[in-house]
Symmetry: C2
C-alpha cells in the first residue's frame, strides 16, 4: 500500500518553487536577465577559492580510501574537533567533538534535533514569519508545530502571544535569527527575555524546554547590527548550522548540530542523532566535503553583495512608500504589500516581471518576501519595474 501521507503532500506544491518555475519559464520567453526573480534563497556569489583548493588538494594529495571511506555515523572526528574549536574561539564556548553532529545542512540538523527532544504529540513553537520547510521537518516527526503570530512592528518576538502559547505540551522552541524571511536579527534583549521565560516555564512544568536555533545566516549580518550567539543565552540550546550560505555550497548538503555542553544530556542528544540518522539511512554528509569544509572554517564567500543589495532595495522600497523593517542580515527583505491580500499583490507584480513571494506561507499574510541574492546590476535594473508596478497599480 502506497503511504498516503507522503502522496498527499505531492498535491501541496511549494509556492516558492512554483514562482521560481514560473520565473524560469518566463526567462525562456524574454531572456532570464529581464526577469526580476526574487523568489529563491539561492546564494549568488561563488564558493571561496580556498574551498575549491581544499577539495582539489584532498583529491590530489590524499589516499582515496581516506577521503572517500566511510565516515563514522556522527561525522568524522577530526572534522568535529575543528568545528568545536572554531566555535569556541569565536563565541567563547567549550564544545568538544562530542557535542558536534555533522548533518545534511541546517535542514538535516533541525529535523534531527526535533526528533531527539520530542516525542509524537509534543508541541514545538516557532515565530512568524518562519521558513515554511519547518512544517515537513516537524510534521513528519510526529510533533506538532505551533506558530506564534508575528510582531509586525519590528519582527522581534511577540512575547504576549509566546507566553500564552508556551504551555506544558511544548518541548522545544525553534528560532531563526538572522531570520528568513524578515531579514531581522534578534536583539540581545529579545534573546535574553526569551531565555528568562523558557527557564521559568521549564521550572514550572518540571521538564526541559529545548531551544533549537536555526542559524544558516549567522555569517550574513550587516554593519552596526549586534550579533548574539544564541547558545550563549540559554543552556539547553541546540544550534543548527549550514555552510550553504556562508560558503555558497547549498548543493553539498553540509552543516552540523552543536549541542551546548551545559545542555542536559548534551552528549546523549548527539549520539541519539546518529540513531535517528540510521533510521532514515542517511549516515552523514559526503566525507570529502566534510574534510574540505574543515579546512576553511574561518572563510566565507564574499558576502558583501547582500548588504549592498539590501541598502539599494530598502531605500527604494521606503521611498516608494512601502512599510518595511530594515533587515539586519540574511539576503531577504519582507515589506508590507500595498493591498491586503499579498497573493493578489504578488500576482499583479508578475505583470512587471517582478517575482515576489507572498508572506502567507511564512505565516505572515499581507507581507511579501524578496530574496535579493542576485546580481546588484539586476537589483538596480529592477527598480524601474518596481516603480512602474507601484505607480500603475497603487497610485
Amino acid at each position: 500500500m502506497i503511504a498516503a501521507k507522503y502522496k498527499d503532500m505531492l498535491s501541496a506544491k511549494s509556492v516558492i518553487r512554483e514562482l521560481s518555475e514560473y520565473a524560469t519559464a518566463r526567462g525562456k520567453e524574454i531572456g532570464y536577465e529581464n526577469v526580476f526573480d526574487y523568489s529563491l534563497g539561492n546564494p549568488s556569489v561563488p564558493a571561496p577559492e580556498k574551498f575549491k583548493k581544499a577539495m582539489i588538494d584532498l583529491l590530489e594529495k590524499c589516499d582515496p580510501m581516506a577521503i572517500h571511506g566511510y565516515s563514522p555515523s556522527l561525522g568524522i572526528s577530526s572534522v568535529k574537533e575543528k568545528v568545536a574549536e572554531s566555535l569556541n574561539k569565536r563565541f567563547s564556548m567549550s564544545y568538544t567533538y562530542k557535542h558536534i553532529f555533522m548533518t545534511a545542512g541546517a535542514a538535516g540538523a533541525i529535523a534531527h534535533a526535533v526528533r531527539a527532544v520530542t516525542v509524537p504529540g509534543d508541541e514545538v513553537l516557532t515565530f512568524a514569519p518562519f521558513f515554511p520547510e519547518y512544517h515537513p521537518y516537524i510534521d513528519l516527526s510526529g510533533a506538532v508545530l505551533k506558530v506564534v503570530p508575528a510582531n509586525t512592528e519590528s519582527f522581534q518576538i511577540n512575547f504576549e502571544y509566546f507566553e500564552k502559547m508556551l504551555t506544558e505540551k511544548v518541548m522545544a522552541v525553534l528560532v531563526n535569527t538572522p531570520n528568513n524571511p524578515s531579514g531581522i536579527v534578534y536583539t540581545k534583549e529579545t534573546l535574553e527575555k526569551l531565555a528568562r521565560i523558557m527557564t521559568k516555564k521549564s521550572e514550572e512544568y518540571g521538564h526541559d524546554i529545548y531551544l533549537i536555533s536555526d542559524e544558516p545566516y549567522r555569517e550574513i549580518v550587516f554593519a552596526g547590527v549586534e550579533d548574539v550567539y544564541v547558545s550563549k543565552v540559554y543552556a539547553n540550546t541546540i544550534s543548527c548550522y549550514s555552510y550553504s550560505k556562508s560558503l555558497s555550497i547549498p548543493g553539498e548538503r553540509i552543516g552540523y548540530i552543536a549541542v551546548n555542553p551545559a545542555c542536559r544530556e548534551a552528549e546523549a542528544i548527539v549520539n541519539m542523532c546518529g540513531q535517528i540518522s540510521r533510521g532514515i539511512g542517511h549516515n552523514c554528509p559526503s566525507s570529502i566535503v566534510q574534510l574540505a569544509v574543515a579546512e576553511v572554517l574561518y572563510e566565507t564567500s564574499d558576502l558583501s553583495v547582500y548588504e549592498t543589495n539590501m541598502n539599494i532595495l530598502y531605500n527604494e522600497l521606503t521611498d516608494l512608500g512601502f512599510t518595511c523593517v530594515k533587515p539586519g542580515g540574511t539576503f531577504y527583505i519582507f515589506p508590507k504589500a500595498m493591498e491586503e491580500d499579498a497573493k493578489i499583490f504578488c500576482q499583479k507584480a508578475k505583470n512587471y516581471d517582478l517575482i515576489l513571494v507572498p508572506g502567507d506561507s511564512f505565516g505572515c499574510p499581507g507581507y511579501f518576501r524578496m530574496a535579493y541574492c542576485i546580481d546588484t546590476d539586476k537589483v538596480e535594473r529592477s527598480l524601474t519595474a518596481l516603480r512602474k508596478f507601484v505607480e500603475s497599480e497603487y497610485r
Copy 2:
C-alpha cells in the same frame, strides 16, 4: 523530553562495530598488519582514477554555482537521465529520469522505499541471513521486519517458510543479492519462483506486494555466476543501488532508487521519496558527487581482488573442514562455525588475532562472516592463524 526510542538504541551497540573497534585497539598493541581483521565491509581498493579526474575537472572547469548549487529534491535531472540510460543499456529496461531518485547510498534508498510503500504496522519480509541495518531502516519507519529463516544448504530462498510468512499484512519483500553476509547470488530460478509467489499472493490479497531489491554488490559477481537484474523478473520492483562498493566511495553517500517503469504508481513513488526526504531534512546527495558519478557510470574500481581473496579463503576453509557455501559475489563468506555457538567460536578466534563476526545478528546463528575486503597478502598471512586456531581448538 528526550525521545526514549532513540536513547534506548544507544545501549544496543553494533556487534560489527565493537569487533572493529577491538581490532583497531589490538592493532595499536601488536601492529594493525598483524590483526586479521575480517570485521568490516569497507572496500579495500581505491576509487577509479576517472572518478578523481571527474571531480577535479568539475572543480577546475565549471562554475562553482553550478556544481555546488541546490540540487532538485529528487536529484539532478541530467544525472538521473544518465543513470536511467546506463541501466537501460545494461539491463534492457526502459527507465527515464522520472523513475530515478538520487539517495544517500543503498541505506537511504531502502529507508525511503520502505516508507513509500508501507504504513506503520505493515510487515516487510526479508531472508536470513540479512544485513542487520535493515532493522533501523524498517523499525524506525513504523513497519515491522519479519525474517524468513535461512536455507543453510544453499543460502537461496527457503520457500516453504516464505509462503507461510507471506500473509496479507506483508506489503514489501526485501531481497539482497549478491548477499551480505552469505556472498550468495540468487539464481534465476530462485528469483522467478519468488516473483511467481508474490504475483499470486498479490492477486489473492487484492493489494500490491512490492519487491525492494538491495543491490550494492551488483558489480561484484564472480566468474561463471549468472547475474540476474532483479527488476527484470517482477514489475513492482524498487531497485536500491549504491556506488559505495563499485566505486569504493562509501563515505560519499551516493546511490539511487530505480522504480521499474511497469511498477504501479512508479512516478508517484519517486515523487513521494522527495517528500519523505523533506521530512528528515536530507535533500539529496552532494551535488558535486552526483555530477562526478554521472561521468563514470560505466566504471568500477578494480574489483578483481575480491574474487582472488574469496578463492584463497574458500579453499583453505573447506580444506580445514568448514562447511561453507561458495560465494558467487560480494566480499563476504559465511561458513558454519565449528561449535554450536558462533559467538563463543568468534570469541576464541580473537586469541589468534582473527576477527570474525558471529552470524547471530545476521539472523543466522551458528555461522560466521568474514569480510575479505582486505589486502590479498593479509588474507594469505591469515591462513596460518586460521589453521592454528582450528587445530588448537577443534582437533
